[in-house]
Amino acid sequence: MQKLITLQVNGERHELAVEPDESLLQVLRNRLELVGPKKGCDSGGCGCCSVHVDGRVAYSCMMYAVGAEGREITTIEGIGSPATGLHRLQQAFIDAGAVQCGYCTCGIIMAAKQLLDTVKQPSEDQIRLAIAGNLCRCTGYAKIVDAIKLAAAQT
């Protein structure tokens, strides 16, 4: 039996009929066509699906969409785009060359955003801990850390 819910995503309200066991990630990607959050491990281990829920980073694969009703969801699409202007983290990932295949990037930027939202000038340790819940299998993290430092320096 589908449930009728209202989801607040990137500042917009969406009326949706969803399965009661549908994850927030499934709804974002398959029903709202927001494909920034990725399906990686689908079990809370890789961080590709990271979004913000009420301003805090969370794994959207581990959250039921019905349970997300009433919360403010923000995906990578909601923080900046080529059309509206890139967020400084997005620009810094380009400038630092912190992307290879790109699959982890949206999740890592959302994790880094929570850090920069709360700590203006984070240490390298704080940066590494902030992205500890995200895996990148290409870059070895060095340029990702550089990118986050670069974005932090621009505040």
Partner: protein, 291 residues
């Protein structure tokens, strides 16, 4: 997600409504708070019998209260909110809680709950070991009313606790720690999202002479189906001066306190060795916190 027999996802507004739903669905009822444990079971195909998900996020159980007798942690308090509490950040007595909350990544800390990781009854989780070392108590509510159960004895087996069918956890109560109390937690893991290969939580309360009045040693991770109160290690500490000799004696004694799991993540001999090493380190950290 795949719950083949799921009929509905409920978001009750009161504990009474929650209990009625649990009664109605019996074994088919599964409570959801942060959802991370539920999801872990779901992806392993362990929830095929679930007919109703009951989300307790709207019960108003997310609160941290300091009372004369101690601290009351509402069941749906997130790990992140607990980590931000003044007493967790600053007081040596709550050092084990502080340590345990540094291990999960932000994505888990922001949604995982205090009550959820206790209700899971899986010794692989970090925070319950710390709460157990602090003599925490579970406040439960069911159709027959409210009751309080000590965490010591609460964990009966893997995914099995002393909760009766149809009961939910409303809070975890931690008694006010006596003066000169300190604690620490240490975990062996392979990455930031890993479950404990082995974990150790310790709490020491020193008496007026500086000797160890009360000692608690709790083991988690691959130590069996439930957390272990390490009685021999505690006995090796009680009454002694809190120094390196006492800590070494406890580290030696702890090997006899449990039957380690042996698997691809570590042999029994390795886990037994690590228990001693980590216990000595955790005790040293706890002692240093008292200055």
């Amino acid at each position: 997600m795949t719950l083949p027999n799921l009929q509905d996802y409920h978001r009750p507004a009161t504990a009474e409504e929650t209990i009625a739903l649990m009664q109605q669905h019996g074994d088919g009822a599964m409570l959801v708070a942060g959802g991370t444990f539920v999801h872990g079971l779901e992806v392993r195909g362990l929830l095929e019998g679930v007919t109703a998900l009951i989300d307790i996020g709207r019960l108003g159980l997310a609160s941290i209260r300091r009372e004369p007798g101690g601290i009351l942690l509402g069941a749906t308090t997130t790990l992140a909110d607990l980590a931000a509490a003044d007493f967790v950040r600053g007081e040596p007595a709550f050092g084990a809680v502080r340590d345990a909350l540094t291990y999960p990544p932000p994505q888990i800390r922001n949604v995982g709950t205090v009550g959820g990781c206790v209700a899971a009854a899986a010794p692989l989780y970090d925070l319950p070991a710390a709460l157990l070392a602090l003599d925490g108590r579970v406040q439960a509510l069911g159709a027959k009313g409210a009751r309080e159960l000590p965490l010591d004895g609460f964990f009966r087996g893997l995914f099995e606790s002393a909760l009766a069918p149809g009961e939910l956890i409303t809070a975890i109560a931690i008694p006010a720690p006596p003066a000169r109390t300190t604690s620490a937690f240490l975990k062996l893991e392979t990455n930031a999202n890993d479950l404990a290969i082995l974990s150790v939580a310790v709490r020491l309360t020193l008496d007026a002479r500086g000797a160890i009045g009360t000692a608690r040693v709790v083991l988690g991770g691959g130590v069996g189906e439930a957390y272990v109160r390490a009685a021999a290690a505690e006995a090796a500490l009680a009454g002694r001066k809190a120094d390196a000799q006492a800590f070494a004696a406890a580290a030696e004694a702890v090997a006899g306190d449990f039957e380690p799991v042996a698997d691809h993540r570590g042999s029994a001999a390795y886990r037994r060795h690590i228990a001693g090493v980590y216990l000595r380190r955790a005790l040293t950290t706890a002692r240093e916190r008292l200055g």
